[in-house]
């Protein structure tokens, strides 16, 4: 930080305090802020997602489809390769994908899908299809939650034409608040991975005469594979 910044910082904080008529040292004010930050109270949480497990998963599927994504259910992780291969064939795409070091995806028996070409790591923009494993999902809006890192590189979410996202049925939460709580649990209070990507449907633009078109800069297609017995999710 340069001397100029220190001056600017002090000036801005001083002007804010003068405008608010405070010194910045008042104990009750400081307590209110630290309490809010540590208690992080939930506000209004819509009833929409507060459903028993099976109905919650149904809602998630409906909301993803409402956002122009597609969803299929797989009973177990071993079914993922066949589902991926079938999706690629169905869209006349080459049988090639890229994925990161995610433990679930690393253990998947990709060989069962025949001649599926697997590349690993971040995308350089030449991949047509990528597979990611979502940290979680939100039934309320059909939103997938992905976290950055070697397991699921962020570039896979945006550069390929087709993004296939695996999500465990038990990770599909009712609402955003449940996901925020899980983020704190996983990464620590006040800490976050470099990027948390909340994704609701494939990329789109309506900037030309307000005509909605899919596939603006990100993926043209978003396909979700929901793994696990939909009638008996184990929590979340």
């Amino acid at each position: 930080m340069t001397a100029r910044d220190v001056t600017a910082r002090d000036l801005i904080l001083a002007t804010i305090r003068r405008s608010l008529g405070v010194a910045g040292t008042e104990a009750p004010r400081r307590l209110e802020v630290t309490t809010r930050l540590s208690a992080h109270p939930s506000g209004v949480v819509p009833a929409r997602g507060q459903l028993p497990p099976a109905a919650r998963l149904d809602l998630f599927v409906r909301m993803v489809e409402g956002a122009a994504g597609t969803v299929e259910r797989a009973a177990q992780a071993a079914d993922i390769p066949a589902a991926v291969a079938a999706f690629l064939r169905g869209h006349n795409l080459p049988l090639a994908i890229r994925h990161g070091d995610d433990p679930l995806l690393a253990e998947v028996p990709w060989g069962r899908a025949g001649t599926l070409e697997i590349r690993r790591g971040a995308s350089d923009g030449t991949d047509l299809a990528a597979v990611s494993h979502a940290f979680g999902a939100v039934a309320e809006t059909g939103t997938l939650i992905l976290t950055s890192g070697a397991d699921n590189p962020t570039t896979l979410n945006f550069l390929p034409d087709v993004h296939i996202v695996v999500v465990n049925a038990r990770d599909v939460a009712s609402d955003f608040e449940a996901v925020m709580a899980r983020l704190r649990e996983r990464f620590g209070v006040g800490l976050m991975p470099r990027a948390v990507n909340m994704i609701t449907g494939p990329s789109r633009s309506a900037d030309i005469e307000q005509t909605l078109i899919l596939g603006a800069h990100g993926p043209r297609k978003l396909h979700v594979i929901m793994v696990g017995d939909p009638s008996r999710p184990s929590g979340g």
């Binding site: 819509p46 929409r48 800490l191 990507n197 990329s203 030309i208 603006a216």
Partner: protein, 495 residues
């Protein structure tokens, strides 16, 4: 149309701008979509969520709470950013922010920088400044890309090219993308989008630095948040060596839960979506072991007068989350579009914010460009009292003797009677009878002394009986308690 050069405001020429806009056939064609699409879509998703009104209250309260403790939340936010390896820079003015950003670009030897959509970058005229200093900025949001090709400013805060037809965009693409075959078909929005995707993909991969705005900053975690549909903001911030976030200080919210509240009203109010496609929470640079992401993460916090706005009657304006609902529902915006307002923020939010940022002497016409229908306040997700604040600006303008003499004398004339309710009732009753008598043959006037501004465009209807107040008194006398008639009559409203 307004040129982007330094964003010299044409707001003082609002009346001329508006006349030109009304006569612009392309613009009028393009504006037809705004009224129909945005309003219906917002209504539809708002109706689907029973808690929507409660969420608006919650969103308002969160922003108000944050503003009341802004100094402390800024400090908390800064601590977290630094903890996670990011850099925070403070900019008092737009020039300060420009210089800080240029320094970072130079540090990386940047030749091209990609940009996500940022209204704050428009506010400080960042593109022109970078270009003058040898750094080429490339807008990557489709709408922003189009208006950058045309050297225009946005005509809408979330749909920057909403004033253009596809034929105009085709012309621009043919003019600029000269490396592509001449006989290609660009007649449909899909082909235009495909071309922009191809052209910009190269730019994303080549850029040295990526600059985005921020819809929100989260104090709890030191996180910046962008909300997009295209994915351009994510490619902008993920691929280059450095990511610069340019955000004004009022974007702060306390916690992730507070963020969830605001996200629930933002997309619904803006585009009528349940959620925008990409909501991205960014915290610091690439971590050890990360295979992608920027190596450096810088946040430039811009004040530009906002810390002073906290003190006055325009503080509520700092709650604004830039959804655009106010302009989508504004009859004046529907008629003249965004460029007539003459600066980067159009519509009702611009009519309140622009005078704060560039001065009421330059932007005095904007708070007058309102019918006070109140729809902007009805739809504002953070319940900003926009009409009240436009009225405050009109009062200031009047107090500072900036309004024209005819307006001043007209208001003084009306004010004389308004302060004398009995005289007002007496005079208006006589005037109504005289007009009714004079217009009894046709029932309307095609010209009337002192009212040529009205009668030039439409007939003035002749009064059909007693004045409103007389009818009101009579009606109340019939239906209400007998004692209430007339005695508690308030001062009359404006004619």
């Amino acid at each position: 149309m307004t040129q982007a050069g330094g964003h010299a405001a044409t707001s003082p020429r609002f009346k001329d701008n508006a006349k030109a806009a009304l006569a612009d056939a392309d613009l009028q064609n393009a504006l037809k979509f705004v009224e129909v699409n945005f309003i219906a879509r917002r209504r539809e998703v708002a109706d689907k969520l029973p808690e929507f009104e409660a969420l608006r209250d919650s969103a308002r309260d969160i922003k108000e709470h944050t503003l009341a403790h802004l100094d402390l939340y800024l400090e908390a936010y800064e601590r977290r950013v630094v903890e996670q390896g990011g850099h925070v820079h403070y900019a008092v003015t737009g020039e300060d922010a420009q210089r800080i950003i240029l320094d970072i670009c130079r540090k990386f030897g940047a030749r091209t920088v990609t940009k996500g959509k940022s209204m704050v970058a428009e506010e400080i005229g960042l593109n022109d400044f970078l270009e003058q200093n040898g750094v080429i900025p490339i807008e990557t949001d489709l709408g922003e890309y189009i208006i950058q090709l045309r050297h225009e400013i946005p005509s809408h805060i979330i749909a920057p090219a909403v004033h253009l037809t596809k034929a105009q965009i085709e012309d621009d693409f043919r003019r600029v993308h000269t490396h592509l075959p001449r006989d290609r078909n660009l007649s449909e929005p899909t082909s235009l989008l495909a071309e922009a995707r191809g052209v910009l993909r190269e730019k994303f991969l080549a850029a040295d630095v990526g600059i985005t705005g921020a819809n929100f900053l989260v104090a709890e975690t030191g996180t910046s948040v962008i909300v997009t549909n295209e994915g351009n903001g994510d490619l902008t911030q993920t691929l280059p060596k450095a990511h610069i976030v340019l955000a004004s200080i009022e974007k702060l919210v306390p916690t992730l839960e507070d963020l969830a509240q605001l996200l629930r009203v933002l997309a619904r109010s803006a585009t009528g979506q349940e959620m925008s496609v990409y909501t991205t929470l960014s915290t610091g640079p690439r971590r050890a072991g990360d295979p992608d992401g920027p190596g450096e993460y810088h946040v430039v916090l811009l004040d530009n007068g906002r810390s002073s706005m906290l003190a006055g009657e325009f503080r509520d304006m700092l709650r604004c989350i830039r959804c655009g609902a106010c302009m989508n529902h504004c009859p004046v915006y529907h008629a003249v579009g965004g460029h007539a307002y003459g600066w980067v923020y159009p519509g009702p939010m611009g009519a309140v914010l622009t005078p704060s940022l560039i001065g009421i002497d330059k932007a005095g016409h904007l708070p007058n460009a309102s019918t006070f229908c109140g729809r902007c306040e009805e739809v504002c997700p953070v319940r900003i009292p926009l009409p009240r604040m436009m009225r405050s600006w009109r009062e200031r303008e009047f107090e500072r003797h900036l309004s024209p003499a005819t307006v001043r004398s007209g208001i003084a004339f009306w004010g004389f009677f308004a302060r004398r309710p009995r005289l007002y009732g007496f005079v208006t009753a006589i005037a109504a009878r005289l007009l009714a008598f004079a217009g009894r043959a046709r029932g309307r006037f095609s010209s009337l002394p002192l009212a040529s501004g009205w009668t030039r465009y439409r007939d003035f209807p002749a009064p059909q009986g007693a004045t409103f107040q007389a009818q009101w008194s009579a009606e109340r006398g019939r239906t209400a308690r007998p004692s209430s008639s007339g005695r508690d009559a308030r001062a009359p409203g404006p004619p």
